[in-house]
């Protein structure tokens, strides 16, 4: 099935801005392609010459260690050169706009921009103003497509398919771009998504999303096949959405006790970094059901695949113009 799928399909996108606009076939194509990159990280020479001579810019307007390192390593493994850009050490702190910053970088001859920004739609805006490929590494509360891709890749690895699975996304849905991209990817691949959290952490327009909502974890726990525990992002919580951390943990934390009531093969995920003992207990995070570290390893393969594919998409579009 997968082979046939690949042979007929042609990848044409030079940007990866979000998963909302991608078809099921496109998402599956990225996942299949990522499969071919997995072994690079396991052999002694962890490098292929595929993007030799290409320049990737990590344009991060928000703090990030995991995603940034993952993209840097992915680009390095494909032999691209990487320019690191942080807000603090740049002209942005001198008042330069996003577009001007990007255009200046582009004037130096870059090929791919990986952007993280606190404003939703930043990646899309950028893609309209520069010729280079744009990969969204998180924009505001909108999307974080590569995180969702590595999540569904990991689920597919653990469960073969997402078709028919019930997946719970638990926590701060309102402030989570990971949750948004997850919803698009998982539902497109045939899973049922159940958002779980206190009403104060649900997005305002939640009824418009293709999901079920539960304000109680215990009410849905037993029917879940996969659970994705989101991090409580203290840095984004302005008001007080829950009375205390202990209370949140009591109602929505994934504890050893709750694991006893869940399906015995429940797949436990977390996008990291973990607040141990808050949204997830240590024994669960490190336990046999957890695929948290596999998510990180798969992130590399998925990001290599995305870097490769946007570059392919750029070549396709250049060919069409010529």
């Amino acid at each position: 099935m997968r082979k046939q799928n690949q042979e007929k399909f042609r990848w044409n996108r030079k940007h990866l801005l979000g998963l909302k606009d991608l078809s099921r076939q496109e998402i599956e194509f990225i996942l299949d392609t990522a499969g071919g990159f997995e072994q690079i990280s396991t052999r002694s020479i962890k490098k292929a010459p595929t993007l030799r001579g290409k320049v990737v810019v990590n344009l991060f307007f928000e703090d990030s260690t995991r995603t940034r390192n993952s993209f840097t390593l992915a680009a390095n493994r494909l032999s691209a050169d990487v320019v690191e850009f942080t807000k603090k050490s740049s002209s942005v702190s001198k008042g330069e706009t996003l577009i001007d910053t990007a255009r200046n970088l582009e004037a130096m001859g870059i090929d791919i921009v990986v952007i993280r920004h606190n404003a939703g739609g930043a990646a899309k805006l950028l893609s309209r103003h520069i010729d280079a490929c744009v990969i969204n590494a998180g924009d505001g509360f909108d999307e974080h497509p590569t995180q969702a891709l590595l999540d569904v890749y990991t689920i597919r690895q653990a469960r073969q398919t997402l078709e028919g699975l019930k997946i719970g996304i638990v926590g701060d849905i309102a402030h989570s771009r990971v949750a948004r991209s997850n919803i698009w990817a998982m539902t497109k691949l045939g899973a049922e998504v159940i958002l779980v959290g206190p009403p104060t952490l649900m997005p305002a327009q939640v009824s418009r999303l293709p999901v079920r909502v539960s304000y109680s974890l215990d009410a849905v726990l037993e029917e879940l096949d996969v659970i994705n525990m989101l991090r409580i992002q203290f840095e984004r919580l302005g008001s007080n959405p829950f009375p205390s951390v202990r209370e949140y943990s009591h109602f929505f934390g994934l504890t050893v006790d709750r694991m006893k009531r869940a399906k015995c093969d429940l797949t436990v995920m977390h996008p990291g970094p973990i607040n141990r003992g808050l949204e997830i207990e240590s024994q669960v995070a490190d336990g046999p059901n957890s695929v948290i570290l596999r998510q990180v390893a798969n992130g590399l393969a998925v990001r290599m695949a995305v870097l490769f594919l946007v570059n392919q998409g750029a070549a396709e579009q250049a060919k069409k113009k010529a």
């Binding site: 071919g36 020479i45 292929a48 570059n311 392919q312 070549a315 060919k319």
Partner: protein, 175 residues
């Protein structure tokens, strides 16, 4: 359409290739066959089987995907887009004689990419190239060590190797 090799000729040719490869491998040296995806894969499996029978040892077999090593990756031509698949080599290639198998040798660019890909996986004792058809018109200084059939076929024609496992028939045709 012209049939260059039929079922019988392919069978004879594989027996012949097996004999020549076996004769060229010194006693006590480990040998393995690696096919270039996707047509070389099946040829490699057949060669590994016949070599195992001939040498009385199990000759391991693997598949190499060369997409990441292609020299035209930034300029896709024609109607095909290169697709990344997985490399499946479940054994250590260090110190082995590797028989690199492909269906057709033409420009030599696939073989070049395969050599680079293999060397990133380890340091074999030697790499030998075995193909079913050497159609000439090479663009790189790469020659086959073992060729089932050698014919000069200019670039405007295409050579297609059909194998039972994927196409239901063993046949080499020129169009």
């Amino acid at each position: 359409m012209k049939v260059v090799m039929d079922e019988k000729q392919i069978a004879t040719s594989l027996v012949d290739l097996t004999g020549r490869i076996a004769a060229a491998v010194p006693d006590g040296t480990d040998i393995a066959v690696i096919g270039i995806r996707s047509r070389g894969e099946i040829l490699a499996q057949r060669l590994a089987r016949s070599l195992s029978a001939r040498l009385g040892v199990t000759v391991p077999c693997g598949t190499l995907d060369i997409t990441l090593y292609r020299d035209d990756i930034n300029e896709p031509r024609g109607n095909t887009q290169p697709t990344v698949r997985s490399t499946e080599i479940g054994f250590d290639i260090n110190e082995k004689i590797i028989i690199l198998a492909d269906d057709v040798l033409y420009t030599g660019r696939s073989a070049r990419a395969a050599l680079d890909a293999l060397i990133d996986l380890g340091r074999p004792k030697a790499i030998r190239l075995a193909v079913l058809v050497d159609r000439g018109y090479h663009e790189l200084p790469i020659q086959a060590d073992f060729a089932g059939c050698t014919v000069d076929i200019p670039g405007e024609q295409t050579v297609e190797v059909r194998l039972t496992e994927t196409d239901g028939i063993d046949q080499v045709i020129v169009e």
